[in-house]
C-alpha cells in the first residue's frame, strides 16, 4: 500500500460533456479527492481513451484508477485493467440519465456528479488490486454420486468434454430407477407409444469409457477439502476404502417412490393387487419375459381390468402426505395403460385423475392413449377396497358430481405415488425428541462432508436440495458441489438428462475456476477473497455460522479458517463481523465507509437532503441502471453505493451515515424466505436480521425510525425503484432535516 499512484479520468462522451461541468469535476477530483492526476477525455471508452489510461499505467506508474463515466456494469471490456485497482463513478446511468435536462435541475445534477467523483476517489484509495487466491487445487476429476440416468449422463457428458470421472453407485448395478422400468415415455416423434428406456445403452457407454472409473456397491465415506482439491474416501462393500482426488462433485442421488404402505385407504399394503407404478413396471417386465400377458399377483390370472389412481399421496393439502405434484406420474400412468392396451385392446383401463398434467410432448401421448381406448375419468379417489382377487374403487366423479361413483371387480389398482428425494441428512433439522419404544431411524448422509456446517448439502422445502431455482438451478449451497435430477426437484427421465448435462458443465466450470483462484457464480471470475486480521478476531463464530456456503471452518484454536475456493465472495462474513476484521482487497468496510464519508453534506438550511442508497449489485443496482437507460427520473438527493449483497452490509456504514448528517438510508436487497431471490441464498435474509436491530442505534442517536428503510427490489423494478426513491425523499422532507448536519 506504500506507493500507490491514483489517477482520475472523466469522460465527456454520451452527453456528459454537455450536461455537466467536467472542468469543475476535475477540480473536485484534485481538491476534494486529492488526486493530482485528473484528466478529461471526449470519448474515454474509445481506443484512444483507453490507450491514454494504459499509457499512464505504463509510463507514469499509475496503480489506482478512478473512472468517472458510465455505470460499472457498462463498458467492462474497455475498462479492464486486471493489474490495477479500479473504481467507477456512475455519471451516466446514475446522474445525467435520471435527471431532467433543464436549467433549474442543473445545479443539483452537478452536485450529484461531484459527489460521485468524491466517492470514486475515496473508494479507489481504499482498494487494492486483487491478487488471487493462492490456496488452489488443480484436480480435474469429477465425482458423480449415483449411477442412475442422471449420474450416468453426467459422467458421459463430462468424459466427452475431456474430464475424468469417478462414478460411485450404492447398489451392485448401474441404471437406478430407470433401470427398473420396462419402457419409458416417448421423447421422439410421433409420441404415440412407450419407447425403450435407453438405460442399457447408457450403461454400456459408461462401462466402455476408459475415462470413467465406476465403483459399484460403494458409498462416499468422507469428503474433505474444497473445489479443485476435494479428497474423497470411497467405501466399498468389501470394507476397503479408496481415496480419490476430486475437482468438483455432482450429486445425482435420485429419489425413492413414496411408500404406498402409508396409503392404506387407497389399498396400499392391503392386497398384492394394489401396486405402485414401480410395482407395475416389475409386472410388465415379468410379462415381457414370459408370454407378454400382465398377470395379477394374487392368483396369476391375466389382468382384465386395471384402474390407475393419480396423485396418490401427492398434492395433499392436509400435510399428511406429499404436498407437491411430482410432474411425471400422469405421463407414466398413460404409458402403463398402454402396456395393457397395446397387448390386448379388450383390457379395461381407466385413469382417474383430478388434473391431467402431461409436460413435454405428453399432449400427443395423451391423445394417443385416448385413441387406443384408455378411459380418462376426472375424479378424486376416496377408497380402494380389495376383496379377494378383485378390488372396488370408489371415487367422487368431478364432472358428474357423483360422490359415490364406483368401479367394481378391478383386477389391478396402480397408485401413482410421487418422488421423495434422496437428499441425505437435513443439516438444519431440529433434533427430534426420542419417543419411547420407537426405534429412531437416522438418515444416512450421502456426501459425508467434513464441513463444520454438516455432512450434506442444505435443503430448501420438502427435502429437495436448495438452489437458486431461477438463476442457478444446479448450484447448491456448497461451492463445487452440484445436484442434478430428482434430488433437486421431481422430474422424469428427459428432464433428468437435461439436468445432468447442465450440472456436468457447471461442475467443470467450477473446477476450472478453482484452479485459477477465481470465484464461481454469481461473481464468476472475481479474484478477490476474504482476508481476516486474526489478531483482532474475538472468535465470536458469527462468520462461520452465517456463511451461506459453508466456506468457513474453525481451527483447533477456534479461529475461523477460510476455504477460499468454497467462497462465493458475497461478503456475508464481512457484514457479520462485529469487530470488522474481515475484508476483501477491492471491497471492505473501508471502501464503502470512505464513500459514505466522502459525500458533501449541505447544511440544514440549503434544503438539499442527502439520502444514502445501499443497493445490491445483483438486482437493485441493475434496476437503477435500467431506470437510467429508460430515463425514469428520480431525486438528485440520493447517493447510490453498490454492495455485493445485503448480507455484506456492516451496520457501521449506516451508523456512520446517520452520524455524518445523512437524512436517510435506503437498503435495497432481494426477496428472502422460501421463495428467495437472493443470489447468495441467505445473504439478504441475514442482512435484514441484522438491520432489524438498527432501531436501537437510531434510538441512541435520538433519530426517527423512518431514517432507515429496508426495501425488496427485483431486477425488473425499473419503474418502481424511482417511485420508491421519490416517495421516500418526500417522506424525509416532511420529517425534516437530520439534526446531525454540520457537526
Amino acid at each position: 500500500m506504500a506507493d500507490i499512484k491514483v489517477a482520475a479520468y472523466i469522460c465527456k462522451g454520451c452527453g456528459l460533456g454537455e450536461r455537466l461541468d467536467t472542468d469543475a469535476l476535475v477540480k473536485i477530483a484534485q481538491k476534494d479527492g486529492k488526486v493530482p492526476m485528473a484528466k478529461t477525455h471526449d470519448f474515454l471508452c474509445s481506443a484512444d481513451g483507453v490507450a491514454m489510461i494504459r499509457n499512464d499505467i505504463a509510463n507514469d506508474g499509475v496503480t489506482h484508477i478512478m473512472i468517472g463515466a458510465c455505470s460499472r456494469r457498462a463498458k467492462t471490456e474497455a475498462f479492464y485493467f486486471p493489474e490495477n485497482a479500479v473504481a467507477r463513478a456512475n455519471l451516466r446511468e446514475g446522474v445525467i440519465w435520471i435527471r431532467p435536462d433543464t436549467e433549474e435541475a442543473r445545479e443539483t445534477t452537478q452536485d450529484m456528479a461531484e459527489d460521485y467523483i468524491r466517492m470514486g476517489c475515496a473508494e479507489v484509495k481504499a482498494m487494492a488490486a486483487p491478487s488471487g487466491n493462492p490456496n488452489t487445487g488443480s484436480s480435474k476429476t469429477l465425482l458423480v454420486v449415483g449411477g442412475g440416468v442422471t449420474g450416468m449422463t453426467t459422467a458421459i457428458e463430462a468424459s466427452r468434454t475431456g474430464y475424468p470421472v469417478v462414478l460411485v453407485e450404492k447398489t451392485g448395478e448401474l441404471g437406478g430407477m430407470a433401470g427398473k422400468l420396462w419402457k419409458r415415455i416417448p421423447v421422439h416423434e410421433p409420441f404415440k407409444s412407450p419407447a425403450d428406456t435407453g438405460v442399457a445403452d447408457l450403461v454400456s457407454q459408461v462401462m466402455a469409457d476408459s475415462n470413467i472409473k465406476v465403483y459399484l456397491n460403494a458409498t462416499v465415506a468422507k469428503t474433505d477439502g474444497a473445489p479443485g482439491r476435494f479428497v474423497v474416501q470411497i467405501a466399498t462393500e468389501s470394507g476397503a476404502t479408496h481415496t480419490e482426488d476430486i475437482g468438483a462433485i455432482v450429486q445425482a442421488s435420485g429419489f425413492t417412490p413414496y411408500d404406498i404402505n402409508k396409503l392404506p385407504e387407497l389399498g396400499g399394503g392391503q392386497s398384492p393387487n394394489v401396486v405402485d407404478q414401480l410395482g407395475l413396471e416389475a409386472l410388465a417386465k415379468a410379462a415381457a419375459a414370459g408370454d407378454g400377458v400382465i398377470r395379477r399377483p394374487s392368483d396369476n390370472q391375466p389382468v382384465k381390468s386395471v384402474v390407475f389412481v393419480q396423485c396418490a399421496g401427492q398434492r395433499d393439502p392436509s400435510g399428511t402426505h406429499l404436498a407437491y405434484c411430482s410432474g411425471f406420474c400422469c405421463n407414466a400412468s398413460i404409458k402403463q395403460a398402454m402396456y395393457f392396451k397395446d397387448a390386448n385392446p379388450d383390457v379395461d383401463t381407466t385413469i382417474i385423475y383430478t388434473d391431467l398434467r402431461t409436460p413435454g410432448n405428453g399432449e400427443d401421448f395423451y391423445r394417443s392413449a385416448q385413441e387406443k381406448g384408455v378411459i380418462f375419468t376426472k375424479g378424486k379417489v376416496s377408497g380402494v377396497r380389495p376383496n379377494g382377487n378383485g378390488s372396488t374403487v370408489t371415487f367422487h366423479d368431478l364432472i358428474l358430481d357423483d360422490a359415490n361413483a364406483t368401479i367394481a371387480d378391478v383386477d389391478l389398482v396402480v397408485l401413482a405415488t410421487g418422488q421423495v428425494p434422496n437428499s441425505g441428512v437435513d443439516i438444519f433439522a431440529a433434533p427430534k425428541e426420542p419417543v419411547e419404544g420407537e426405534v429412531e431411524v437416522k438418515p444416512i448422509s450421502i456426501l459425508n462432508l467434513n464441513y463444520r456446517q454438516g455432512p450434506d448439502v442444505p435443503q430448501l422445502k420438502q427435502g429437495f436440495t436448495d438452489s437458486h431455482f431461477i438463476c442457478f438451478p444446479y448450484e447448491t449451497r456448497r461451492t463445487g458441489i452440484y445436484t442434478a435430477g430428482p434430488v433437486r426437484r421431481p422430474m422424469d427421465i428427459a428432464q433428468a438428462r437435461e439436468d445432468a448435462t447442465g450440472a456436468a458443465l457447471k461442475a467443470i466450470q467450477a473446477l476450472e475456476n478453482a484452479e485459477l483462484g477465481r470465484a464461481a457464480h454469481p461473481r464468476s471470475g472475481d479474484l478477490s477473497f476474504p482476508k481476516v486480521r486474526l489478531e483482532g478476531c474475538t472468535q465470536c463464530k458469527r462468520c462461520t455460522v452465517e456463511c451461506p456456503f459453508g466456506a468457513i471452518d474453525e481451527d483447533e484454536k477456534r479461529f475461523p479458517v477460510f476455504n477460499e475456493s468454497r467462497c462465493r465472495r458475497c461478503g456475508t462474513c464481512m457484514g457479520a463481523c462485529p469487530v470488522r476484521v474481515i475484508s476483501f482487497e477491492n471491497y471492505s468496510v473501508n471502501t464503502v465507509g470512505a464513500q459514505v464519508k466522502a459525500v458533501d453534506i449541505p447544511d440544514e438550511f440549503s434544503e438539499k437532503p442527502r439520502i444514502l442508497i445501499l443497493a445490491c449489485e445483483n438486482d437493485a443496482y441493475p434496476a437503477l441502471d435500467m431506470a437510467g437507460m429508460n430515463h425514469n427520473e428520480y431525486s438528485a438527493f440520493v447517493r447510490v453505493i453498490p454492495i455485493r449483497c445485503l448480507g455484506s452490509v456492516n451496520t457501521i456504514w449506516v451508523t456512520d451515515a446517520l452520524n455524518a448528517g445523512y437524512d436517510g438510508v435506503m437498503m435495497m436487497g432481494c426477496k428472502h424466505g422460501d421463495e428467495y431471490q437472493c443470489h447468495f441464498v441467505k445473504g439478504s435474509e441475514l442482512g435484514r436480521v441484522r438491520m432489524s436491530k438498527i432501531d436501537d442505534t437510531l434510538k441512541t442517536l435520538n433519530l426517527e425510525s423512518e431514517r432507515v428503510r429496508d426495501l425488496e427490489v427485483a431486477i425488473t423494478d425499473i419503474e418502481r425503484v424511482p417511485e420508491m426513491i421519490n416517495k421516500y425523499v418526500e417522506e424525509l422532507v416532511a420529517i425534516g432535516p437530520s439534526p446531525f448536519k454540520g457537526f
Binding site: L356, Y366, R367, Q370, E371, G373, I375, F376, T377, K378, D397, I399, L400, A405
Partner: protein, 210 residues
C-alpha cells in the same frame, strides 16, 4: 323384445362401445378431454338450459350411464350453430355427435316424446314428404296443437295478429288448409322416398345386428 333392450343386452356394460358403433361420429367420444369449452360456447346452454352439456354427456357415456344419456332432452337442444366444433381443442365434431346421439335415442324409441325439437322434426318431415312441399299453415298449426286443443287455441289467439299481418302481405294463404300446393310428380316423390327409406333401414338394421 324392443330395440332398446336388444341393444342394451348386446353391449352389456359397454355403453361407450355401443355409442362408438351405433352413433354417427360416436367414435370421437373417447377423445374428449373435459375442458368444457363446448359447454361454455353453446348459445343455448345459458342458465343451465341443458340438463347435461356436451362434455358431461361424453363423461356419462364413458361412465356407462346409458339410460340417462338416451332419455335426456339435452342433445335435442342443439341448433347446429357449430360454435363448439370451431372451438373444440381436440377437434371433436360435437354438433354431429349431438345429432347422432339424438337420432340413436329416437331409433331405439326412448327419446322424450314431447320434446319440442323432436316433435317439430317429426311434424316437419311428415308435412314435407306428404306432397313434396311444406304446408306452412298446417305445420304451424300442428305445432300449436301439440299439447292439446285448449292450449292450441290459446297459442293461436296469441299469434293472431302475426297471422293477419302475414295474410295481408300475402305470405299466408288460409285456403292452404284444404290441401295446398304440391309437387307435380306425386308418384315419383313417393317412389323416391320409399327407396330412400329402404336404403336407410337396411343400413341401420345391419348396423344394429352387426
Amino acid at each position: 323384445m324392443s330395440a332398446n333392450t336388444a341393444m342394451a343386452e348386446k353391449y352389456r356394460n359397454n355403453f361407450l362401445k355401443e355409442i362408438e358403433e351405433q352413433v354417427e361420429m360416436g367414435d370421437w367420444v373417447k377423445m374428449c378431454m373435459q375442458c368444457g369449452v363446448c359447454s361454455g360456447s353453446c348459445p343455448t346452454n345459458f342458465q343451465s338450459a341443458w340438463e347435461h352439456p356436451p362434455q358431461e354427456l361424453f363423461m356419462m357415456i364413458r361412465a356407462g350411464k346409458r339410460e340417462e344419456v338416451l332419455t335426456t332432452t339435452s342433445m335435442w337442444n342443439c341448433t347446429s350453430c357449430y360454435n363448439c366444433i370451431v372451438r373444440c381443442p381436440r377437434k371433436l365434431p360435437i354438433t354431429h355427435i349431438m345429432h347422432g346421439i339424438a337420432e340413436y335415442a329416437h331409433r331405439l324409441g326412448v327419446a322424450p316424446k314431447m320434446q319440442p325439437t323432436r316433435f317439430f322434426s317429426g311434424l316437419f318431415w311428415k308435412n314435407a314428404t306428404k306432397t313434396g312441399r311444406v304446408n306452412e299453415l298446417k305445420l304451424s298449426m300442428g305445432l300449436y296443437f301439440k299439447d292439446g286443443f285448449g292450449a292450441g287455441v290459446k297459442e293461436g289467439m296469441k299469434m293472431k295478429d302475426v297471422a293477419l299481418g302475414l295474410m295481408k302481405a300475402k305470405r299466408l294463404n288460409p285456403f292452404e288448409i284444404l290441401g295446398g300446393h304440391k309437387c307435380k310428380d306425386q308418384k315419383g316423390i313417393q317412389a323416391m322416398l320409399k327407396k330412400a327409406y329402404e336404403i336407410e333401414r337396411s343400413r341401420k338394421t345391419a348396423k344394429m345386428a352387426g
